[in-house]
Symmetry: C2
Subunit: 224 residues, 2 copies
Amino acid sequence: MSPSQPRDRGIPEATVARLPLYLRALHGMAERGIATVSSEDLAAAAGVNSAKLRKDLSHLGSYGTRGVGYDVEYLVYQISRELGLTQDWAVAIVGVGNLGRALANYGGFVSRGFRVAALVDADPEVVGDTIAGLNVEHIDELEAVIKRRGVSIVVLATPAAAAQEVCDRVVAVGVTSILNFAPVVLSVPDTVDVRKVDLSIELQILAFHEQRKAGGPLMAVDSQ
Amino acid sequence: MSPSQPRDRGIPEATVARLPLYLRALHGMAERGIATVSSEDLAAAAGVNSAKLRKDLSHLGSYGTRGVGYDVEYLVYQISRELGLTQDWAVAIVGVGNLGRALANYGGFVSRGFRVAALVDADPEVVGDTIAGLNVEHIDELEAVIKRRGVSIVVLATPAAAAQEVCDRVVAVGVTSILNFAPVVLSVPDTVDVRKVDLSIELQILAFHEQRKAGGPLMAVDSQ
DNA sequence: CCGACTTTGTGCATCGGTTCACAAAGGGCT
DNA sequence: AGCCCTTTGTGAACCGATGCACAAAGTCGG
Ligand SMILES: NC(=O)c1ccc[n+]([C@@H]2O[C@H](COP(=O)([O-])OP(=O)(O)OC[C@H]3O[C@@H](n4cnc5c(N)ncnc54)[C@H](O)[C@@H]3O)[C@@H](O)[C@H]2O)c1
Ligand SMILES: NC(=O)c1ccc[n+]([C@@H]2O[C@H](COP(=O)([O-])OP(=O)(O)OC[C@H]3O[C@@H](n4cnc5c(N)ncnc54)[C@H](O)[C@@H]3O)[C@@H](O)[C@H]2O)c1
């Protein structure tokens, strides 16, 4: 009934997926001392269309000024709050092999709101090592570590064969957000969010389009 | 005119993105000696709904048998062909740091149709090293290496600041498929496909839902 | 204080994708 | 051969997302 209902509490999934993109562009602008930005410019920086950007932002409220644009700092704050980045999140990486190590050493990981709070592996060779200043703990300690460190997001970087079992265990201790790098479809209760990153799938999609470009009737060999 | 037109040559993007998932499930089944599979079972293995799976497959042609299901081997072949995996693709990894190294050492990368054909970096410390059996070449050689090895897909794993420049150079020598790990929006001509993998965005999306679960009265649902 | 100009926020048409539900197709049993 | 059972392939309704186009809102110069 009240006509001014700033936060809808029903932000479309597609919008949520783009907010981090806007946030990144805004951080860049803030660093370069830009105080105010139009939807046109911000959209360009984020690689989207300006109508889409305005609609996305309208889901969080009316934070722009007509004729002027958006206040960069204020918008950074609003988006950060909406995404839950005003608190910090303890992340555990399970499986400290090639990939897990790269992730652990990655600085940008930690940058905004996220903190690698634990590394866990099953290999006795690896357990006890210090990587990126963190001690690698044994998989037997998985539940204890998660509870002790207040981990709420788990990154799975184990071999595919171990992923479901580890997943079941972390779900059992109450973790409801998982980022999965193993090439398997995880089975979880629907209270749990799983996002997957699958390199192989990305390459296959590229290959599909590449093949089509090469084979199609129109050879689009454009020089820019 | 001819009523049986098996391949539509206009496969929806959403379908393309799921074909690799089906392919993986099918490979698993083939290995376990399963000859035939119903849409119901294959859908379950791939984590999708069976109507969606059937519609997806119908875009490639009528490869099922009513009352029976799909022949596993045959479907593997058809999907592989559609995705362009019957040829092999030479991939170059540019930026051999934490992430680039992990990718280079990753076996599953090579497994189906893809071959890491070159590693390129700018750091004199790294150039000349042998990683995963490959010599790391200097960034000055980028264009020459791409041409010499017939690279058609480039994986960008440089720092964000270098990504656009490397991107411009590979596009200039004719590469039209790029997998980008750097957290920047690449600007490319629209003949070029860019797919991005962005860990930080994935975590932020998880954080958004995690926050909502904790704070809101209604438990949010997930999508894998 | 006003009027011209800029830019937001959104209603609406459209589009692509998902899901349901069922007729058509094929296999196998008797 | 004929019938029943299973499962595909798809028409059609539905749903969320996109993009256009513009009225509303606000700024700024005079
Ligand atoms: N490396 C890549 O570039 C890459 C790319 C895409 C996907 N992946 C996937 O990511 C995962 C990890 O890849 P990787 O290259 O780091 O593999 P890896 O073999 O180097 O590392 C796996 C690590 O997991 C540990 N592990 C095994 N079983 C475990 C368990 N039950 N609990 C905890 N830890 C366990 C191993 O000891 C090892 O340290 C794999 O599923 C792989 O398919 C990797
Ligand atoms: N490591 C991760 O887990 C991770 C996760 C997400 C995203 N990323 C992104 O992936 C990229 C690589 O990350 P990283 O951790 O491997 O960084 P890194 O610093 O370890 O490696 C970057 C490598 O690129 C090389 N390089 C720099 N400029 C170059 C140029 N102009 N041409 C060729 N090579 C060049 C450097 O010499 C270095 O070897 C970064 O953009 C990072 O933001 C990394």
